[in-house]
Amino acid sequence: MEISGAEILARCLAEENVEFVFGYPGGAVLEIYDAIFKQNKFKHVLVRHEQAAVHAADAYSRSSEKIGVALVTSGPGATNAITGIATAFMDSIPMVVISGQVGTPMIGSDAFQEVDMVGCSRPVVKHNFLVKDVKDLAATVKKAFYIATTGRPGPVVIDIPKDVTQAKAVFEYPKSVSIRSYNPPVKGHPGQIKKAAQLLAEAKRPFIYVGGGAVLGNAAAEVTELVRLLNVPCTNTLMGLGAYPGSDPLFVGMLGMHGTYEANMAMQYADTIIAIGARFDDRVISNPAQFLSQAKKIVQIDIDPSSIAKRVKVDVPIVGDVKDVLKDLIAILKETNARPNEKALNAWWDQINDWRKPNSLWYAQDDEIIQPQFVMQKLFEVTGGEAIITSDVGQHQMFTAQYYAFNRPRQWINSGGLGTMGFGLPAAMGAQLANPYADVACITGDGSIQMNIQELSTCKQYHTPVKIINLNNGYLGMVRQWQEFFYGTRYSESYVDALPDFVKLAEAYGHVGMQISKPADVEPALREAFAMKERLVFMDFLTNPKANVFPMIQNGKGLNQMDLPPHMQSMQLVPFENNRDYGNLC
């Protein structure tokens, strides 16, 4: 029996076990919406802005091992989706975005609500398709899901002209898919893995640097096993947080621009670095020349060859899936009993512990004004470290990364690569729908929250009881901090004047609003809010307007050239001591 393209699409999504489609209707997708109306396999979530649909689908993927789907109409619907697609692309998040298109005879005629979506999205997708014939539709959807989820994951766009949704064909969903030009690697080269094991055994100052690839590749267990087997210090990137447990003593904190003193010093002075699904981003190693000024051997495990040796030379590249490669590496290490020299490793740990002592994340909390760090620490306590946390972009994002210890992967949802303000709230919605029984909190700022505030309405409609934690400093704080440091404290347009009354705003949308201005009220308020299991609570914390994120590495500086927090500035800090007894090397 022949059915319409729209019905075929709905059947395909059902075949892919799609649970939610986040979307917004319009002329070009009306046929699809009619097919959605007539089915009951998946639910549709009506957002209030297409950007939010894509962020929600993205966070649905990030917070689970499932895949998010967004649906938007042609023209403005499609262009509104672009920021969301780019956000997912930069963080390698699997996702399928379906956009409507004007009818095939109209394409190229500047038709009403026509935009070349394949062209617009091309630089920010893993791949995209324009379906010109209804007979190709099912196979295209199958390919899209396959491409999005395999290899280095990423968003895939399917652009479907209206006449294709109306045309009829027999539905047959392909059982399998193979694309001759696309064969993502899985297993790492055994010779290379052996070399990596050898390097580890020869290391005096080994360091394990874990990135988002370990989360994407579901390899947290293998990472943890490797680190503990070797007893080697470990850091996570912003995207890797949770891949190795944040509360573990072998964890030295996040590294990079706002990483801990000990993580950055260890990265700079390590003699052997194992990079696991981490891409030596400029916010991580800052200046490559300065980074390489201390000799080091680098092993890099990545599924994407173009991530390897992109910014720094790599001694042992291993192309493959993290999980598989780590399994093989662990097996070799166990088999050969290869371990870093114990005496050297102990001396290295002594050095690292000296760097830990000054506690670069220390801050002072008085009785008067709430410090943003304090809210994050209390949040960790109140949620038992178990909540799924989404974040917007700014100082609040960095405070969350620094002070909420993430102990499992997919618990920390943020936009790292693109740094998209407005991500947090729709992401919380998507994460809550993927994890209906989890506590979900969105950490945001007075600037960011206003970039997708309209989603409070969606949250009401779909009963997503997320807790919004607004660290309200009355500034575009991250911008203000840079202006304080680099532009002579000239706060050009970084003061958010005329902020709304967030409590009333939350109430207007049918939610609970709270404002907290005293340090003593922070914990009780959090407890009260998280006790309201069924309600979205908007918590407006009035925090120190001049708080800064420390440590900080200025552009172009090295990892060992951090701007340190005030309490460390007058301290006598222990330098890297090359003459420590790192033992004799075999």
């Binding site: 394949v118 091309r122 791949h127 324009l130 001759r180 030009s181 060859p305 173009s306 040796a309």
Partner: protein, 163 residues
């Protein structure tokens, strides 16, 4: 350094724009690009001439390979290869220039493929430098029009780029 990349790519709408889009988005250079379907009509072959440091060329190769529709990429410079380009050049050919023009074409092994009372159109193939040399050897005033295809390349001997 100058490199010649040979790319096998699915013969699909939009595939070419993915390649050119990649070069412009990442700031890579394209000195020339030629493309045509192969003996297998589902596949096209491109020859891209580019230049850059070794690191950049390595990234270009990796990024090309990453495109879903790209089947295979080789850097012809890694081994012996042959490179050819076709030029059609229309020159003024009147009076005593007429014989001179024909002689020049012969020297460079060009063929005159169109003749009018006032002009010749000459077809010339060879490595790019040979075409450059031909242009240089002519009196610039006689050149009416040139069109060049850009280089096509192929590996020497047993080196084969095929699916």
């Amino acid at each position: 350094m100058r490199h010649i990349l040979s790319v096998l790519i699915e013969n699909e709408a939009g595939a070419l724009s993915r390649v050119t889009g990649l070069f412009s988005a990442r700031g890579y250079n394209i000195d020339s690009l030629t493309v045509q379907t192969t003996e297998d009509p589902t596949m096209s072959r491109m020859t891209i001439v580019t230049h850059g440091s070794e690191d950049v060329i390595e990234q270009i190769t990796k990024q090309l390979n990453k495109l879903i529709e790209v089947v295979k990429v080789i850097d012809l410079n890694e081994a012996d290869h042959i490179e050819r380009e076709l030029m059609l050049i229309k020159v003024r050919a009147t009076g005593k220039d007429r014989d001179e023009m024909k002689r020049m074409a012969d020297i460079f092994r060009g063929r005159i493929i169109d003749v009018t009372e006032k002009s010749y159109t000459i077809e010339l193939t060879g490595p790019g430098e040979k075409l450059d040399a031909f242009i240089k050897a002519l009196d610039q005033a006689v050149i009416l029009e040139t069109v060049r295809t850009g280089a096509s390349g192929i590996g020497r001997g047993e080196r084969i780029l095929k699916l």
